[in-house]
């Protein structure tokens, strides 16, 4: 499947070239990274186990609340802090996960870099919006 639509000027070993198989297998060599990404994905996953259970339980408990009740609940410091932590960890985890998906399926390098930038910025923006909204509600 991967032989199609892979031509890219940044590809040093284009299909049909005469480079040796070993040169192709070595590619650009090892980047010496990847472990940090792998570790952070695990750390955020562990944190999301209690946080996501807390989120579902809270949403059930407040399923029938009106807007005023929700505002009172979200204004409590413990709720604000927990939910702000949820946003940071959730969107961090999402950023790491979506990055892997993009790297898996997008092979044209410049397109891939562009999408990765968008993924990172959107994740950080969502994280910021969530955290600041919680702070706003807690301090108002």
């Amino acid at each position: 499947m991967s032989d199609w639509n892979r031509e890219d000027p940044l590809d040093r070993n284009p299909p049909g070239g005469r480079a040796s198989p070993l040169r192709r297998a070595i590619g650009l060599g090892s980047s010496g990274s990847g472990a940090h990404h792998w570790w952070l994905q695990r750390v955020t996953a562990v944190a999301l186990v209690p946080l996501s259970i807390w989120l579902v339980a809270s949403l059930i408990a407040h399923a029938r609340d009106g807007q005023q009740d929700l505002l009172a609940w979200l204004g409590r410091p413990a709720v604000a802090v927990t939910m702000a932590a949820l946003w940071v960890i959730l969107f961090w985890h999402m950023k790491l996960g979506l990055r892997v998906i993009v790297e898996d399926y997008v092979h044209a390098d410049r397109m891939k870099f562009a999408i990765l930038i968008v993924v990172d910025l959107v994740s950080l923006a969502l994280m910021a919006i969530g955290v600041f909204t919680n702070l706003y509600l807690a301090l108002h």
């Binding site: 499947m1 991967s2 192709r24 297998a25 070595i26 010496g32 990847g34 472990a35 570790w39 399926y105």
Partner: protein, 280 residues
């Protein structure tokens, strides 16, 4: 169904393939066409049908799927027996690799009824009717069931699968191992490099140019745990890469399909743990 051994053939027959368009993402030269149906054997009571991928590089045509009919009473019990019978008696141009016919050389690995296995140890009785036979997945096809493995062996070459030492060899003896140290190679050294796992790994389908794949990573593990090897540091440095190693997403098609009952998925997890160990 609970799988206790990779030797079990799943009874779950449907769906037989993922719901993707038959020609999705393939180059025009890779599209598979309707092939030829070869004549039924005369006077046979037990007939087995095999739908086999064919590609003739000299014809200039696209690959196709031919249907062969085999008289089970005049054929040995294994798929390899049927393939040899086809080559001997029906179509002498049919090409496939085989050597030992007892599951130790790894030559006759192919995609059988949708999963990768060795033709010599897959009984015809365990196969679908009609059975489907394709070459190992995601390889440039040289002819019929023969795929070009140059890239896979180059990937193996790239991890330097040989003893790397700094201490000179002892003058009057070999480099010795205790029985416990030797036992660490169990589950690694049995690999016959048939590449059933690598060619069945979706991560290797999408990023086979950079991801080393389960078979090669299993070999990398084999040299990491060898007590005589003195290049563990360099080996881990060379593996730590988002693509070479971490493209493994623990899908575990490798462990599911290994015809030798090995566990490449587990060994790759152990490499990741080794890298984590030295970081913290």
């Amino acid at each position: 169904m609970l799988i206790r051994s990779s030797k079990q053939v799943s009874r779950w027959r449907r769906p037989r393939r993922f719901p993707v368009p038959p020609a999705s993402g393939t180059s025009p030269a890779s599209r598979i066409e309707q092939g030829k149906t070869w004549p039924e054997p005369q006077g046979a009571t037990r007939v087995r049908h095999l739908r086999i991928f064919r590609y003739d590089p000299e014809s200039g045509n696209n690959p196709r799927v031919d249907t062969f009919a085999i008289d089970r009473d005049k054929c040995g019990p294994m798929l390899l027996d049927a393939l040899i019978k086809i080559k001997n008696e029906i179509d002498p141009t049919f090409a496939f690799r085989r050597s030992c016919r007892e599951g130790i050389c790894g030559s006759c690995a192919m995609n059988i009824d949708g999963t990768n296995w060795l033709a010599c140890i897959r009984a015809l009785d365990e196969m679908n009717e009609p059975a489907t036979v394709y070459p190992l997945n995601n390889m440039d096809v040289v002819k019929d069931l023969v795929g070009d493995q140059a890239h896979l062996f180059a990937q193996l070459h790239s991890i330097k699968p040989w003893l790397r030492t700094r201490t000179p060899a002892p003058a009057n003896s070999e480099r010795l191992q205790s029985p416990e140290e030797r036992a660490k190679l169990d589950g690694d050294y049995e690999c016959i490099l048939c590449f059933c796992c690598t060619s069945g790994c979706p991560s290797h389908w999408w990023n086979g140019d950079r991801f080393l794949g389960p078979a090669v990573l299993l070999q990398a593990h084999r040299w990491l745990v060898d007590s005589r090897d003195e290049a563990t540091d360099e080996r881990l440095d060379e593996l730590e890469d988002p693509f070479k190693l971490y493209r493994c997403h623990t899908i575990l098609n490798c462990t599911r399909t290994c015809p030798k009952g090995l566990n490449p998925g587990k060994k790759i997890a152990e490499i990741k743990l080794m890298i984590q160990q030295r970081r913290s």
